[in-house]
């Protein structure tokens, strides 16, 4: 659950909660004797025993082939099968040494794989709980017209944190329920910018749906980064 600063169409903002709606099936796996099994990660090989390292060590692929016929240089008997816990991810250079200072570049590619742009990597920043709220744009889209225009890959449910925000969110839900529509919500002064929940996360377009049942409400923030359409055939790409 995370704090979410939301402004309504009148520009009044309030911090509410955005909660995950993911439903997970919790499963236990039992061994044939009825005892519970658990997953472990084990080591099969290391960078010091992979193809580039062994080729470097022996001087040529031919020499390595000879070595492979004679023994098992790719296996480290001391490490093979070791259970891995508390691991970390690091960058290594071509020689398998840890690199501490790296520079990252984003390469934007067209659908056919050709390079479009190259620029320094820029991490997205979270914008759901800043001083500048996520705004309702006022742009309504009928549910019956929007369900097949976008791929809603994620959702959050917006919930109140106290009596005042209950009234605030209930009013929004009621308006959207009556209109049978989704409203475009987003960052920026017009409420049409992308929404990013955590640093480095994928930005999404937001569509708010409201449902009302008596004095209870359900405000669903649908998140999409894809339109439901077919790729343009390569010949038509300019």
């Amino acid at each position: 659950m995370s704090a979410f600063n939301l402004a309504n169409t009148k520009g009044r903002d309030a911090v509410v909660q955005a909660q995950s709606v993911r439903r997970t099936l919790r499963v236990r796996w039992l061994a044939p004797d009825g005892r519970q099994a658990q997953n472990i990660r084990v080591l099969r090989s290391t960078l010091a025993h992979d193809l580039p390292a062994l080729t470097r060590e022996t001087g040529s692929v031919e020499a390595l082939s000879e070595l492979l016929l004679q023994g098992d240089p790719e296996v480290d008997p001391e490490l093979f099968g070791r259970v891995l816990r508390d691991t970390a991810r690091v960058f290594v250079d071509g020689e398998g040494k840890i690199v501490h200072h790296v520079k990252q570049v984003e390469v934007l590619r067209n659908p056919d794989g050709t390079e479009r742009e190259r620029r320094p990597r820029k991490l997205t920043t979270a914008n759901t709980n800043l001083e500048e709220p996520i705004r309702l744009s006022g742009r309504l889209m009928k549910k019956t017209e929007v369900y097949n225009r976008f791929v809603f890959a994620h959702k959050r449910q917006l919930v109140h944190v106290n009596g005042l925000t209950y009234d605030y969110l209930f009013a929004i839900a009621q308006e959207l329920h009556a209109a049978e529509s989704l409203m475009l919500v987003g960052s920026g002064p017009r409420g049409i910018g992308p929404i990013t929940f955590t640093r480095g996360a994928t930005p999404y377009r937001g569509f708010l749906e409201g449902r009302v049942e008596g004095d209870r409400y359900c405000l669903i923030l649908h998140l999409s980064n894809q339109e439901l359409k077919l790729p343009t055939p390569p010949a038509e790409v300019s």
């Binding site: 044939p32 004797d33 990597r121």
Partner: protein, 227 residues
């Protein structure tokens, strides 16, 4: 080409080839390249708990063990719920025709998060608008004979806004996804996703502290003598 899905619709079986539509296919994609100080490319590796053993891609594997560390084969494991109830795996959706029952509502579709999009290319072969003029005497509304009229009827329903839903599992498994057949941008699609746990919320209902039927007494008057 992948095996087609077979839909059972109004008494006819419709084999339907499909292909995945990724976001990268529509808009392109971003690759991250990493370099060291001397502009040499770097790759990601895993460093073990000893701080010096480095494992590259494919150098680690997953396994299953019992609490005492005995190795067990994954195929021999039985899935159960947290209460110990056995879970039976669902068959692959390719193993039998998929019966399309009653249509579902837009809200039911919106209750799901969508993780995969497939274009039902096989079904589109029956599209009246796509049919070539030399199709035959039946005119543009007649489906190619190998697909049957059922395919054209199903496509027509989807284009008119009908949504069909069914459990979907590509390879079979204990937790099948939900698939939706819809038409978008003039083409038939299958969206595969999972249900969510949306719930209506209200202010917590609490019991009244005083009986509202009881008339107010002088005890309700503010008593300052207690100070």
């Amino acid at each position: 080409m992948a095996r087609p899905l077979v839909f059972e619709f109004h008494g006819s079986e419709i084999p339907c080839a499909f292909q995945k539509v990724e976001r990268a296919d529509v808009y392109g994609y971003v690759e991250i390249e990493t370099f060291d100080d001397q502009e040499r490319p770097c790759t990601l590796a895993t460093v073990a708990q000893d701080g010096k053993t480095l494992a590259g891609p494919g150098d680690t594997a997953l396994g299953c063990v019992t609490p005492d560390g005995t190795w067990v084969e994954r195929a021999s494991l039985q899935p159960v719920t947290l209460d110990g109830e056995r879970l039976e795996p669902a068959p692959s959706s390719f193993s039998a025709p998929i019966a399309l029952g009653a249509p579902v509502t837009v809200e039911q579709l919106l209750d799901h998060t969508i993780r995969a999009v497939y274009h039902l290319a096989g079904l589109e072969a029956t599209a009246p608008s796509e049919a070539p003029p030399e199709l035959g005497a039946g005119g543009a509304n007649e489906a190619p004979p190998e697909l049957g009229a059922g395919g054209a009827a199903l496509l027509q329903e989807l284009l008119s806004g009908t949504i069909y839903s069914f459990p979907f599992s590509y390879r079979g498994g204990i937790n099948p996804d939900t698939a939706f057949l819809i038409a978008g941008d003039g083409h038939p699609f299958m969206l595969v996703g999972s249900p969510t746990r949306l719930e209506f919320v209200g202010l917590p209902q609490t019991a009244p502290a005083v009986d509202e039927d009881e008339p107010a007494t002088e005890e309700d008057d503010l008593d300052f003598s207690m100070f």
